[in-house]
């Protein structure tokens, strides 16, 4: 055989082999980039991967690429990609992040995507309260995936040992119970974040008390941190601080561990902590009670699925988000967490009744953590407020004067 004939025969053989192995020549698959820190978390990542596998099976020609960034670096990494014109196709965001991205003009409204517009119309009665956070200026920019709200967690055994028969129903009862449960340094009545080196988490704890006292961070786009309700909440937190009912200087990881080791009797924490505490110590006599306020208002953190402007495959991304929402029950069941669908939550609550306490608590406006009108500037707002709260706690400054100083600073906040 001459050389050209041999090469021709080889090429034909290769083509035949390719036809046999690959079947008909397929169009290149569309690859959707899904960005979330959940990929980096073992439990959540595993559940999400399973869901994605199912989606890919049901949608031939579409694949999902994980954009996996740990939570502490997520916002800046995503902002860099968004500002650099290389956004992912689907962008997961907490309520705070949603405003950070939206304020800078990086998110596309759902009305741009027929499947999502139809989904919002179809599921109108099934959307949870937190969905309202993503409805801005008549447009919707995200759909709730799941959310965590704050509730009162307590150790029934330690309560019984202290002669307490029921969980506290008012802040004053809470303080009295915490005092009675404290036998420092062996046991504390309460565990909470209380310092600037856990600024992000502490904000939720302070927001919990502020909203419980009927306060709001801002009203009508104007800061309202000097109102009697907010000052009352700060004064109460100072009372807790001075009473020595929580371990000072320890971080959240530590006092949570102390909680399931039965060295801390009460937490005001999110529903995920209930799940973690129970898995760490199955014999823990753990109960979730309504927040000690009337109404038992709560704060929370919501995760949204959004689509950035400039996404390479926006329509496929919309198909994925719509599909994802229809499978939220699977997510909630696997994570023992509440999701963005009322129907799914009804089933999840049957399996995990303790979540009822968390879902029954009315969610504060803007999820409690986002000051109205300052949503995209929450970190600055938070830092100013917590700096003044710190002054109250450690310098014994007058709460009213400090919150007035915070109010003035916030009113003069630069653009």
């Amino acid at each position: 055989m001459t050389k050209p004939r041999f090469l021709l025969a080889l090429a034909l053989a290769a083509l035949a082999l390719a036809a046999l192995l690959g079947g008909p020549i397929r169009a290149a698959a569309v690859e959707i980039e899904v960005a979330t820190w959940h990929w980096t978390e073992p439990a959540r990542g595993a559940v999400l991967r399973k869901m994605v596998e199912q989606f890919v099976r049901e949608h031939p020609g579409v694949t999902i690429k994980e954009v996996s960034v740990p939570f502490p670096r997520y916002v800046e990494q995503m902002l860099l990609r968004l500002a650099g014109g290389a956004p992912p196709d689907v962008l997961v965001a907490t309520d705070g992040m949603l405003f950070t991205f939206l304020d800078r003009g990086h998110l596309a409204p759902f009305s741009s995507f027929p499947p999502l517009a139809a989904m919002l119309e179809r599921d109108r009665g099934d959307l949870v309260d937190g969905q309202a956070v993503a409805a801005i200026g008549g447009q919707t920019y995200g759909v709730v995936s799941h959310f965590s709200t704050y509730g009162l967690l307590y150790n029934e055994k330690l309560f019984a040992e202290a002669g307490l028969t029921k969980p506290p129903a008012t802040p004053q009862e809470f303080l009295a119970a915490a005092t009675r449960l404290t036998k420092a340094p062996e046991q504390f009545g309460y565990g909470t974040r209380h310092s600037m080196n856990e600024e992000g988490g502490w904000w939720y704890e302070v927001a919990y008390w502020v909203h419980g006292f009927g306060g709001r961070w801002a009203t009508g786009g104007k800061p309202s941190v000097n109102t009697p309700q907010v000052v009352g909440a700060v004064r109460f937190f100072k009372q807790l601080y001075d009473a020595g009912v929580f371990p000072k200087g320890v971080d959240a990881a530590t006092y949570r561990r102390m909680f399931w080791q039965e060295k801390v009797a009460m937490l005001t924490d999110n529903n995920a902590v209930y799940f973690i505490a129970k898995s760490q110590n199955p014999s823990l006599q753990l109960r979730a009670a309504p927040n000690p306020f009337s109404p038992p208002v709560t704060v929370g953190e919501i995760s949204f699925y959004t689509i950035p402007k400039g996404a390479k495959h926006p329509q496929e991304a919309a198909t994925f988000v719509e599909w994802y929402r229809r499978h939220l029950q699977e997510l909630g069941m696997n994570l023992q967490n509440l999701v963005g669908s009322k129907a799914a939550n009804a089933e999840i609550l049957k399996a995990f009744p303790h979540l009822q306490t968390f879902v029954a608590a009315p969610l504060a406006p803007n999820s409690g953590a986002l000051p109205e009108g300052y949503e995209g500037r929450m970190p600055e707002f938070r830092h100013i407020v917590l700096r003044h709260v710190t002054n109250v706690l450690v310098n014994n400054a007058d709460p009213a004067a400090e919150m007035q100083a915070a109010q003035t600073e916030l009113e003069n906040l630069r653009r």
Binding site: E76, L79, P185, M196, K248, H383, V394
Partner: protein, 297 residues
């Protein structure tokens, strides 16, 4: 003849040899610096400023007006001065001890380097626990020694947070000073000690007239390095206090990080970074002026 010599000269070779280094410096030092200056002229709330966000010197005007600028600069200056002085003095004292002859000296020389060799994040986390008001060993020591009946909330109190953070920094960095100064001490000609002894000089006089002048260049370089490192210190402070409580430990690097990556104000952060760079340049100039004055004296 001169023409021949010119032809035989090195030509472009030296330029070719230094070109890669110049390119590296341009790419990784000069370009980022120029970009920092450019970004400082934008009032952007995004990490990549847009042309329409050009604001001229507005960020610098804001820095001058903002009360936190003065606080941050003050805290930074205190932090740098105290940590530099303390680390240098402790380094010098330990170097003098380790330069003497005694049994087990090699072991002590190795042991003194442990803080310097410990991973920074790990050591900061260990100190976080040691400062714990309830269970920390520092408070245990304070109570046992009768220095205070009450636990001191080291990292929670605006009064104690800065000294606590500075103490951690000094603990970590003084071994570097020890090593540098020990090397300098060992380089002193033994004849100088002999001559001083012949002159009847006491220990204090030997230290003042023989040791100090001999190690002066090392001391100056050490001071300069400690100053620059102190101005850049971020990790320890962020882990221990994140600049709190009530901005008591809010040094330049923490301020810049918060502005850039929490508040996403890269313009203001870059402006503050330039202020920091200017302070660094001033410190460097002071050290070199001291060095030059000594050389000409």
């Amino acid at each position: 003849m001169p023409r021949r010599a010119r032809r035989r000269g090195p030509g472009w070779l030296p330029y070719g040899l230094v070109a890669p280094l110049v390119a590296l410096i341009a790419a990784f030092v000069l370009y980022p610096m120029a970009e920092g200056v450019r970004v400082s002229l934008y009032d952007s709330r995004d990490l990549v400023p847009r042309p329409e966000e050009f604001a001229g010197l507005a960020n610098f005007a804001w820095l001058i007006r903002a009360p936190e600028t003065l606080t941050t600069v003050r805290v930074t200056v205190v932090y740098v001065v105290v940590t530099t002085a303390a680390a240098t003095l402790i380094g010098l004292a330990s170097a003098l001890v380790l330069n003497a002859s005694f049994r087990g000296r090699a072991l002590f020389r190795a042991a003194v380097t442990i803080p310097w060799g410990t991973p920074l994040v790990a050591s900061a986390l260990i100190w976080f626990w040691m400062f714990d008001p309830q269970y920390g060993v520092v408070n245990y020591a304070v109570r046992t020694l009768g220095l205070s009946a009450e636990s001191i909330p080291w990292l929670l109190s605006p009064r104690w947070a800065l000294p606590a953070v500075m103490a951690v920094d000094v603990w970590r960095t003084f071994p570097f000073g020890t090593l540098v100064l020990l090397t300098a001490l060992q380089g002193i000609d033994a004849d100088l000690y002999g001559a001083a002894a012949v002159d009847g000089a006491g220990r204090r006089a030997v230290f003042r007239h023989v040791v100090l002048p001999s190690i002066r260049p090392s001391l100056l370089i050490l001071g300069l390095l400690y100053t620059i490192w102190g101005m850049k210190r971020f990790d320890t402070i962020w882990i221990l206090t994140q600049g709190g409580p009530a901005d008591a430990t809010n040094v330049l690097s923490v301020f810049i990080y918060r502005e850039a990556f929490r508040n996403f104000r890269v313009g203001q952060a870059s402006a503050m970074a330039l202020v920091g760079a200017a302070l660094g340049l001033v410190a460097t100039a002071v050290y070199f002026a001291l060095e030059r004055r000594h050389e000409t004296a």
